[in-house]
């Protein structure tokens, strides 16, 4: 039976600040309450509609009506999409309300009107086709006229609206039981509707579905007004009661008994409205227009042109076959344009902007992508599976069956990615392109902070609690508070306020909080994209679509990913400097791939600063596996990740690699597939091959397995696919010998575990190439490598101080920042040895000096070189603190080597502001700093020490106390008790380690790995988690080249100065 009422005006959390229910939760609740349809009208936002539709389609089968509440000439008005045209008009109106006229965007001058979307009536009239108009709530234009007793004006307004929408309009009537005035308004609206012959409709405008939702809504309302809940209550800005919740149709019918006409109208309107996700799908760019001619022909031409560059004039048979195969699939699925877009972007970045870029992910399985220069891995040479990238299968989706767009992620030097994005905007027109958004949901810290702010807790208490919530979702955070954390923090949760805090945090769980920009996802269209996918702009001046990556997947919109990668910047900076200083022109892809010295360095674990293989876990694994060729690095990249570690695949691989254990293949056919990884499934391509060969599955099924593995949240789906595979393996008569149930079970189990960490081999290849390049640079061009690393900073695993100590250990002379010969970036300088150059630290590393000051320095230096300390101060207008920091960092060293005297002179220049009565240059002779003081001052000024290591001055004392350094530790036998000390540079607490913390101690000779078990962490928490210098008593644990100290006692190592030192804390 059809419900007597349809709620047409529900709000979700995508009304950001005025809605407190997630779209999918709203739909689920609507189903429970007995609705057969529901309309969603968020404030100028369609962001929740895809989630709602997915929930409605897959779980609940109720009808979702897409709509939005817009401010039209300053007053709210609701519009519902009736059909595809209405859906597009709705998108266009939202875009108009959010960003105005599309071609008017200017990244350099972003408009500051976010949060106040509005549109003029004329624009609404222009886009009225396919839309159903509801006249808005009590603050709407019509209601306001009636409240002002302007009956004539109200009639005129209705007349105007009817002229535009015809019979596609209804006067909206609400009753939230707030008093006589509201009821009088309702009566007046109904009377007006009857007088004018216009239908009237009941709506309730709900914002939440339960008490928790109301609390969240109150909190959000109070925070929007910048006040606490108590203040908001006193000011009367909260809803006076809880009737703004989603009521059951029967309850609404009871409330409006005797006035059923408005209820029936809601059902009628709902029956006339429809919504399909595919209506949101914009047409892809008109590539013939962009590239000229037939796009498939153009693609084929570019591919074969690239193939000649990659493979030479004569293609081998496998190369030729592979290209033909891929091109036929691309043609069949209609993705030629997609490839051309990526090719053009990469080509422009590489050849016009001279930016390093490289495709990653499964795209590297494609020979077409390789020939187009998008990726750098030869899939034919490495026998990579193209189907992992593009299967040619059309998959069913909520918006109809469609070909899943290929996923090509392109890494670009992170410092220059914006240039590529600007090019995309320019090339495909600003109004036809937009970045993908990310919907951030509430997490423990912001839920606690928001709730506590609204509940009037002191700010410092809120911050303290918030800091302890980092690992929690809001509900888990509330549980943690109840389980003792509140007591530990001295927070009372037994009073009304405390209980409300817990309730609010639970209600915040999984609630969308804000929209931000995706790291690099782009969507393109041949028409203004905002007409299909509502667009808004960010404070940076970009334009983002109101849908995230998953929403776009559901709609079927291909996404172009341009991601920033620090390692590419590193390589670029290094290559540029090498070319400048030596004339050698290195390329990322023509480095010798079999350089024995580089592999020897990697096998030693001397990989600090390199890409992907620099973490302690990687180093520890590398010294075991001893990579000797590129494929070893490929495996290494894929292997040392949380998934394989949790899946307990790392140690078997290591043992087999070292020959301590023979590879085991449960079926002979697996040997061919898993031989290179010693019988351990590491790559997704291997899983697909297993399904293909042993299961004999068709490509659609193999693709289904790949997609199920890619979505670890859908465990039941994965289980079903694996179950199907097991059966297929048993049934496949081509297997010799036949697969037994035990074997099928074993393979099924392995794949189930593997699904949690499966990594495309092609992706690992892409990363391995960069990893190798960085290692090559480190060995052969150390000073340039560190220059690239520091100029690309922030990136990687280690702090600059650690990198500099590493550089010095590799024989690189490191010089402090200099305002005469240096620049804001690190540079190299000649040394006495013509074969080596010294590394000069850039000004940007000087602490306490902002970007604006650096820019002024650059400008002034460009004009003419600085001539003295006073010249720097006068031309750049440094303040006292900045002048002091430059002096401390020895940046005035060219004019005054003594840092204190330099500071004295710099401070004089800062304070000497009266040109007619200059301050005298007083003689000043402070005590020179000793080495130890210089080290600590370096840490304070730049975090980079060029004069030594802080442990040096403690060494004598430590030796007296029989405390070993990292060098001496190597002589201690396995299992021996030992005391070591050092500076903590990395503190790692992986979730997989169950409470164990790994410390990396640094001293003047190298590093010491410390393992702190959970029990020890609990016992020595303060020292382990907070002290910069520690002494550890423990046992030496050696394993084929790696040395760890298993700590049993921890002490603070007292030092005379406090060290300003960043520790890299990982979780």
């Amino acid at each position: 039976m059809t419900a007597p009422y349809v709620e047409l005006r529900a709000h979700t959390a995508f009304s950001f600040g005025d809605g407190a229910v997630a779209p999918d939760v709203l739909i689920a609740r609507a189903k429970v309450l007995g609705y057969h349809a529901i309309g969603i009208t968020d404030h100028a936002d369609l962001g929740g509609i895809v989630r709602a539709k997915l929930q409605a389609t897959t779980e609940t089968s109720i009808k979702v009506i897409a709509g939005a509440e817009l401010r039209v000439d300053g007053k709210p008005l609701a519009l519902l999409a009736r059909n595809a045209a209405g859906c597009r008009n709705l998108g266009a109106l939202i875009t108009h309300a959010r960003v105005g006229v599309l071609p008017g965007w200017d990244r350099a001058n972003p408009r500051r009107t976010r949060g106040l979307p509005h549109v003029a009536w004329d624009v609404v009239a222009e886009h009225s086709e396919g839309l159903h108009c509801l006249t808005g709530p009590a603050s709407g234009a019509l209601a306001m006229l009636l409240r002002a007793r302007d009956g004539r004006g109200a009639e005129r307004w209705v007349g105007t609206c009817r002229d535009v929408f015809g019979d596609r309009m209804a006067i909206e009537v609400q009753d939230h039981q707030t008093g006589g005035e509201e009821r009088a308004l309702a009566g007046a609206l109904v009377a007006l509707a009857e007088r004018m012959g216009v239908p009237w409709v009941v709506t309730n405008d709900p914002r939440y579905i339960d008490d928790g939702g109301r609390l969240v809504h109150d909190i959000l309302t109070a925070l929007r007004a910048g006040m606490t809940l108590d203040e908001a209550t006193a000011r009367g800005i909260l809803h006076p009661n809880d009737t703004w919740r989603l009521h059951a149709p029967d309850e609404m019918a009871r409330r409006w008994a005797g006035c059923e006409e408005g209820l029936h109208e809601s059902v009628r309107i709902a029956s006339e409205c429809d919504f399909e996700l595919r209506w949101l799908r914009p047409p892809l760019p008109d590539f013939p227009e962009v590239f000229g001619g037939d796009q498939m022909a153009r693609l084929r031409e570019e591919v074969y042109k690239g193939a000649r560059v990659r493979w030479g004039d004569t293609l081998s048979e496998p190369q030729s076959r592979q290209l033909k195969h891929e091109l036929s699939i691309i043609d069949e699925l209609g993705f030629a344009g997609f490839f051309l877009v990526m090719w053009e972007a990469v080509d422009f970045a590489r050849n016009t902007l001279n930016v390093l870029c490289q495709g990653r992910g499964s795209a590297a399985n494609s020979a077409v992508a390789y020939c187009l220069g998008i990726t750098a891995v030869d899939p034919v040479a490495h026998n990579l599976l193209f189907e992992r990238f593009l299967s040619g299968v059309r998959v069913p989706g909520v918006s109809g069956e469609y070909a899943e767009a290929p996923d090509i992620d392109v890494d670009i030097e992170h410092k220059r990615r914006e240039e590529v994005l600007d090019h995309m905007y320019k090339k495909y027109k600003r109004e036809k392109s937009g970045m993908v958004c990310i919907i951030q949901t509430y997490r423990g810290p912001n839920a606690a902070l928001d709730a506590m702010r609204a509940l009037g807790y002191p700010v410092d208490v809120a911050r303290m609690v918030s800091k302890r919530m980092h690992r929690y979702d809001p509900a888990d955070g509330a549980d943690a508070l109840e389980d003792g954390l509140a007591e530990e923090l001295g927070l009372c949760i037994d009073d009304a306020r405390g209980k409300t805090l817990l309730a609010a945090m639970r209600a915040f769980d999984e609630l969308p909080r804000m929209r931000s920009t995706h790291v690099g996802g782009f969507a393109l269209s041949s028409v203004p994209i905002g007409e299909y996918l509502p667009v808004e702009h960010t404070t940076m001046g970009r334009t983002i679509i109101q849908f995230d990556k998953d929403d776009l997947d559901a709609i079927g919109v291909p996404k172009f990913d341009f991601l920033g990668l620090g390692a590419l910047s590193l390589v670029r900076f290094s290559f540029d400097e090498i070319k400048r200083q030596t004339g050698k022109c290195l390329e990322l892809y023509n480095l010798p791939q079999d350089d024995a010295e580089t592999f020897a360095m990697i096998a030693r674990g001397d990989t600090l600063g390199t890409f992907q293989i620099e973490s302690r876990a990687q180093i520890s694994s590398i010294v075991h596996t001893k990579p000797s060729e590129m494929y070893d690095i490929v495996v290494q990249v894929a292997l040392v990740r949380p998934g394989p570690i949790q899946g307990k695949f790392v140690h078997p691989y290591t043992r087999r690699r070292r020959g301590k254990e023979a590879p085991v293949y449960v079926h002979p056919s697996l040997e061919d597939i898993l031989k290179r990884t010693y019988g351990i499934p590491i790559f997704q391509e291997q899983a697909m091959n297993i399904a293909k060969r042993l299961g004999g599955l068709p490509i659609e099924k193999v693709d289904a397995l790949r997609r199920a593995m890619g979505n670890i949240r859908k465990e039941e789906k994965l289980a079903a696919v694996i179950e199907e595979l097991k059966q297929a393996m048993l049934d496949n008569a081509d297997n010799t010998p036949r697969v037994t149930p035990d074997v099928a079970e074993q393979i099924g189990q392995d794949l189930q575990t593997f699904a949690n960490y499966g990594f495309p081999e092609s992706h690992a290849w892409s990363f391995a190439l960069i990893a190798y390049a960085t290692a090559y640079l480190k060995y052969h061009y150390a000073e340039y490598f560190y220059l690239g690393l520091l100029n690309a900073y922030p990136m990687g695993f280690y702090r600059p101080s650690t990198l500099i100590h590493d550089a010095r250990r590799h024989g690189v002379e490191v010089r402090p920042p200099c305002l005469l010969s240096g620049t804001s970036q690190c540079t190299t300088e000649p040394t006495d040895d013509p074969s080596r150059r010294a590394l000069r630290i850039g000004w940007k590393f000087i602490r306490g000096v902002g970007a604006k000051t650096i820019a002024r320095l650059e400008g002034a230096q460009e004009l003419r070189p600085f001539s003295s300390i006073a010249d720097v101060i006068e031309r750049v207008h440094l303040d006292r603190a900045e002048a002091l920091q430059f002096a401390r960092a020895a940046a005035f060293g060219a004019w005054e080597p003594d840092r204190r005297r330099a500071a004295w002179e710099a401070l004089r220049a800062v304070g000497d502001v009266m040109p007619l009565a200059r301050a005298r240059e007083t003689a000043y002779a402070p005590r020179p700093l000793d080495t130890r003081e210089l080290i600590f001052q370096d840490y304070a000024a730049t975090g980079i020490c060029v004069t030594g290591h802080p442990m040096e001055h403690l060494r004598e004392r430590l030796r007296g106390a029989a405390i070993f350094d990292s060098q001496a530790l190597e002589t201690v036998p396995d299992g021996a008790r030992v005391r070591v000390g050092g500076l903590v540079t990395v503190r790692q607490q992986p979730t997989t380690a169950k409470g164990t913390i790994f410390l990396l101690l640094e001293d003047e000779f190298g590093y010491i790995n410390i393992v702190v078990t959970k029990k020890m962490v609990e016992h020595y928490r303060e020292v382990v988690k907070h002290e910069p210098f520690v002494v550890v008593d423990g046992y030496v644990a050696r394993d084929d080249g790696t040395t760890n100290v298993i700590g049993v006692m921890f002490q603070k190592l007292p030092v005379s100065h406090s060290l300003i030192h960043d520790v890299h804390n990982f979780h």
Partner: protein
């Protein structure tokens, strides 16, 4: 010389000047006694931060310090230290360094090793030399300045003291110049309040007889008042408040404060006031002595009248008068503060006003044009109600008001209010009802407590 006592007030960051007595109380539990005893030893005492300062200029130095030591020991502060020097900074540094046992070896002789409480005496003329070997941190410069000084290589007081003032001022600004002076032992801090001057007072006592009659007392008082008023006139001031102190035959003392409406030095005015007061007084015994003491003074010439007759009084006089009232009687001036709380009974709060706010009574209150006025009960009265169901709601039909049962002919509602679940949750359904006798009453159902209440009526 100035003595600085360190270690009595806890250095926990809470001991600001304003709450130093509290800190003392925390430390000892008998702060009043300590203060009284301290004032007995040294008449001028002040506190800043964790320091207690005693002005021993003009007092016998050794004897006073001995008495201070004895007092500290007696009060349980044997761990405290005393720094004695001609300038506050040196005394302070000496006391603090002594407490930390960081007096430089070359200056150990300033420490009085025989004393049972640590005492360091720095002789006049030795101030700068005493500070020279100490780290600049002892002068407690603010962190920004300390950072600059550290960067330029100033480690010890002598480093800063030996450079020129101009070079310091150019580089470190005014704060640097101030520190430079301190580093040289030069400190002109104003530590002690001015000693309050004695107010006019006059008294007379007799032993041969005792006075019981008011006329005689007035006669005596007239003489005393005349003397006091003359003194007041000489100073160009008027008395605001006086105290009459009667010594009685039963050897007790009876004090009676008297206030005037405005400061005056007129003997006639005061005697008129006193005569009225004396006629009201009921003394327990005959009087053998009278003292007439001025408690508060004020400038002459400012009119004082009715506080609320703003055309008559001067603004300053009215403010001063109200301030006086507030001082004497606390937060008695209040004003209603209306909010837009959804519950009418929680809308008004009475908030205390200070003198300025109290005088600023704006005439433009929101204008209302009531046809009917809602009269709220101070507290909603619980009532018994019979209901009928309408659209799923229980609508009142009759209610009992005392012994009378009233029938409701029409009820509009419910108007639902609910909220404040984080504090005092409420949920009510209000009905505007017309009774058979024409009364318009306001009832509500407490949804949480399930009771019915009469909240008010319109008339």
């Amino acid at each position: 010389m100035i003595a600085c006592i360190y270690g009595v007030i806890p250095t926990d960051g809470v001991s600001e000047v304003s709450n130093a007595p509290d800190a003392l109380a925390r430390a000892n539990g008998n702060s009043l006694a300590f203060h009284v005893a301290l004032l007995d030893v040294v008449p001028r005492v002040s506190t800043t931060g964790a320091m207690i300062w005693a002005d021993i200029r003009g007092l016998p130095e050794c004897a006073t310090i001995d008495r201070l030591i004895a007092l500290l020991r007696r009060s349980g502060f044997s761990h405290a230290t005393i720094g004695v020097a001609a300038t506050p900074i040196v005394a302070e540094v000496a006391a603090r360094q002594l407490a930390r046992r960081q007096i430089p070896a070359a200056w150990r002789h300033v420490v009085d090793s025989s004393a049972s409480v640590g005492v360091a005496r720095v002789s006049v003329g030795d101030e700068r030399a005493f500070l020279d070997p100490l780290l600049l941190g002892v002068l407690e410069p603010d962190p920004t300045l300390a950072n600059l000084l550290d960067g330029a290589g100033f480690e010890y007081c002598r480093d800063l003291a030996q450079v020129s003032r101009e070079s310091v001022e150019v580089r470190f600004g005014a704060a640097g110049a101030r520190l430079w002076r301190l580093a040289r032992g030069d400190d002109d801090r104003y530590l002690f309040d001015v000693i309050p001057r004695a107010l006019p007072e006059s008294s007379m006592a007799w032993s041969e007889y005792a006075i019981k009659r008011v006329e005689r007392l007035v006669f005596v008082l007239n003489g005393l008042c005349g003397a006091v008023c003359r003194a007041l006139r000489d100073g160009g001031e008027g008395a605001m408040a006086v105290t009459l102190r009667f010594s009685l035959a039963n050897r007790t003392v009876f004090e009676h404060p008297v206030r005037a409406a405005r400061p005056t030095s007129s003997q006639t005015v005061w005697m008129r006031i006193l005569r009225v007061e004396l006629e009201r007084l009921m003394l327990p015994d005959a009087v053998v002595g009278i003292a007439f003491r001025v408690d508060a003074l004020g400038p002459l010439g400012d009119k004082q009248g009715d506080l609320f007759d703003r055309g008559f009084v001067t603004a300053s006089a009215a403010e001063a008068g109200l301030s006086q009232v507030l001082d004497d009687q606390g937060d008695i001036a209040v004003a209603p503060h209306n909010t837009r709380h959804h519950l009418l009974d929680r809308r008004t709060e009475w908030r205390p006003l200070d003198a300025t706010q109290a005088l600023d009574i704006s005439p433009g209150l929101a204008h209302t044009d009531p046809v009917l006025t809602l009269q709220l009960l101070s507290r909603p009265t619980r009532i018994a109600v019979t209901t009928i169901e309408r659209r799923g709601c229980q609508v009142p039909r009759t209610y009992r008001d005392g012994a009378t049962v009233r029938t409701i002919v029409d009820a509009a509602g419910p108007d639902v209010v609910s909220g404040e679940q984080w504090h005092r949750p409420y949920a009510r359904e209000y009905y505007r009802c017309v009774t058979t006798d024409g009364q318009l009453v306001w009832l509500f159902r407490d949804v949480q407590g399930h009771g019915w209440y009469l909240h008010g009526w319109w008339d």
